[in-house]
Symmetry: C2
Subunit: 280 residues, 2 copies
């Protein structure tokens, strides 16, 4: 497995793969890989000739410096993990190359980011769209893999690829969970044991939404009310948002009448966690 | 020569060219081709195996509907002109395909568009950046050609290509002028005979700037003052801006101490014209 840190070297490797008609699968990550990332790498391994895993902690998608500073980093450990999964390349560029002096172009989403995480994290999704566009242009993947936990991100990237006429298929893979239901996240490591216990309310609220939906309840307000109760029952929680939206347009729903998404963001102490489930 | 109106067909043609290792030169236009465009096509013809000329009147880069409505259109005549220049493909997509329902991604410039035309035409350069990104992704040119008359546009696109890690060389070709100095523009056709005469003041103001620069005058305010007088001497003119800026960063200069650009935008009656010259 190659570890590439320079854009030109990555590009040469891509050109060589393209010349040999080898398909490329990309798993973009910010490092601190967990089983969720590994499931993406395994999916990529099954479907592509070459698998590239990028590791880049993109500063422009953090809406506060504290979160960026606290975000964990473990490059060498990540490289070992990726090697075991038989990826072909780890691409780990530096910020000096990704955002050189004078950088001033950004890719923006003007609709799908108006809700949910976009509403409470200004600039976050533009940071994501910009870095993903750059990675796509450097690596030119045929397929790119994202996790359903970041549902809004996947929706924005799917739209970006369509709108910008990129020939890339976006694969959204199921959220990987701990046995007790907590969605894997690089931020989970920040939780104290008590917070870790409280964090279960997130998945609990989604199970409640599914249960109500299964009982033919379609009133979003009613479902959100019950989800709110589940989360408020936990001690160290503060709700950032609970949304029920159209799964394609991400528009808030009052009545569920098609494929919908129930999504939550909750502060557990000082750590913000998100999760979601499809209702259909 | 092929005339292609569908994105998928254009893409297939591009893939076939890439497979045969044929280089692609792109000349993006909004139609109503004049000798300025033709000089771009000829440059492209010299440097590339395949020459694609796109014709698309991009609605999102017009900051007012009146200008968009008044902008001339003559597709069949343009196709004849391009055929005579031995281009390989005219790509003339429709708006339904370029901006399908739900379109919500844009490419923005956050610095170079803060000045000159960007200051007086809000949204214009984001419209340009977005459509150019789309055309670049569809046509995947090795080289793309722009005219120096739209200097700020070229600067923004060069930055876009660097920032977004696109492997495309941007060629900026000299402004083509009428014998009396007026820069060719698709908007010139709107001028009455009197306005056409008055429009000469634009080039006149640039000659004045060059003359002062040649006499070792480096004070931007002094040069702008004289340029203003030249333009105000003409009857039907209203100055939109006269700027002297760093030719790379487009930042306003008070003292010229490196490669600079003198740029003007002037309303001649109801028609807004732009022009510029390098001072070095």
């Amino acid at each position: 497995m190659e570890v590439i840190t320079e854009i030109n070297e990555m590009r040469a490797r891509v050109l060589s793969a393209k010349d040999r008609k080898r398909s490329i699968g990309l798993v973009p990550t910010m490092g601190v890989l967990h089983d969720g990332h590994i499931s993406l790498i395994r999916s990529a391994r099954k479907e592509n000739d070459e698998v590239v895993v990028s590791i880049y902690l993109n500063p422009t998608q953090f809406d506060n410096n504290d979160d960026f500073d606290k975000y964990p980093r473990q490059l060498n450990k990540d490289i070992d993990v990726i090697r075991k999964e038989n990826a072909d390349v780890v691409f780990a560029p530096c910020t000096e190359e990704m955002y050189p002096e004078g950088f001033c172009t950004n890719v923006t989403d003007d609709r799908l980011s108006d809700t949910m995480c976009g509403r409470v994290r200004p600039g976050h999704f533009n940071g994501v769209s910009t870095i993903v566009t750059k990675l796509f242009n450097i690596i030119q993947p045929d397929l790119a893999y994202f996790g359903q936990k970041d549902y809004q991100q996947s929706a924005i990237i799917k739209r970006l690829v369509t709108d910008m006429n990129m020939e890339i298929d976006i694969r959204v893979c199921p959220t990987v969970r701990e046995e007790d239901g907590l969605a894997l996240s690089s931020r989970n490591g920040r939780l104290s044991p008590e917070e870790r216990q409280d964090a279960l309310c997130i998945h609990g609220s989604l199970l409640k939404a599914r249960e109500m939906f299964a009982s033919n309840i379609r009133d979003a307000k009613e479902i959100i009310g019950e989800m709110t109760s589940v989360i408020k029952d936990a001690e160290y929680t503060k709700i950032d948002y609970i949304s029920i939206v159209n799964a394609d347009t991400l528009e808030d729903l009052s009545l569920i009448n098609g494929k919908a998404l129930a999504a939550v963001a909750v502060w557990i102490g000082n750590t913000r966690l998100i999760d979601n489930t499809i209702l259909e």
